[in-house]
């Protein structure tokens, strides 16, 4: 259950952005979570809501966008998206691949309202 720490990092980033824009109010924080990031959507939402509840950040929302797995074949260099469980190269079927996406845990955007 490391989602609490991750939610706290998201909130801190939102606060940093709010501090850079005096007079604006954060409405929503957009986060990108890869299928292989080891982070669970529901647990992250739960943690985020638990941390903002009862504080002056209570109105903040967290929008999660999930990203698929992306791979590069070590043999032919082909880059392709795949399911979590079927990551062999569709072009040459060679076994060895490297992960080039799907482990994202990124802050995509902050949505603010000018007050």
């Amino acid at each position: 259950m490391h989602e609490i720490g991750i939610a706290a990092a998201i909130i801190e980033a939102g606060q940093a952005e709010a501090a850079r824009r005096p007079g604006s109010k954060v409405v929503c924080i957009g986060v990108r979570v890869g299928v292989l990031s080891g982070v669970d959507n529901d647990a992250l939402r739960f943690a985020f809501n638990a941390l903002v509840a009862g504080t002056d950040l209570e109105s903040w929302k967290c929008e999660i966008e999930n990203c698929r797995r992306r791979n590069r074949c070590q043999e032919c260099g082909y880059e392709f998206e795949s399911d979590v469980y079927d990551a062999s190269c569709p072009r040459c079927a060679f076994g060895d691949i490297v992960l080039i996406g799907g482990d994202e845990l990124e802050l995509a955007y902050v949505e603010v309202e000018e007050t």
């Binding site: 259950m1 292989l36 902050v110």
Partner: protein, 226 residues
Amino acid sequence: MTVIPIEKKVLNENQRIAMSLRSRYAEHRVLCINLISSPGSGKTTLLEQTLALFRPEEKVAVLTGDLQTENDAKRLARYGFPVQQITTGGVCHLDATMIERALASWPLDQIDLLFIENVGNLVCPSSYDLGEAAKIVLLSVTEGEDKPLKYPSIFAKSELLVLTKIDLLPHVSFSMEQVRANARLVHPGMEILEVSSQTREGLNQWLSWITQHRQQMHERICAAHV
């Protein structure tokens, strides 16, 4: 409403420290490997057997993470190499700050090979870069063959799978063929080794893997300096 693009990693601070650790490892030619598994898969026992095989003059060190107790550090310290326990006080993984703090008291030029034994957990450690050259996942034959399917993140990110406790195979219904197939569904091309820390079967291959990675690291560093 205004949407402000941010585009940075949530664990930006962890990533920054991990990158700084990585460049320090490269500068001092330290091979750092991060051992990850469920609790009880045999990380500490494998490390004990591994340390027992190194000559006393080898510059090997271990950082071992647990929620509580110094038990693992006490076990590992018997082999005469520097060992430090990191107790996380409830945190389910090690992060780069904990490693940086632990290394503050150790001169890196006294270390060639650094083992990090992560907290027993197949989920959370997969999100935290510790600056390691490779993550290694351990899975014992007393666990299910479907662990790679249940915890795809750590199996996809680990370079090597070490199947442990193979001396128990006659007593458990565990299919080596199935676990290999499952691991390679999640990570095509994954390297897999089989070891028993009791009978020491497979330890030579494990040591060869480490030696090979130390050589590769030196070659990479030399190539970068040409």
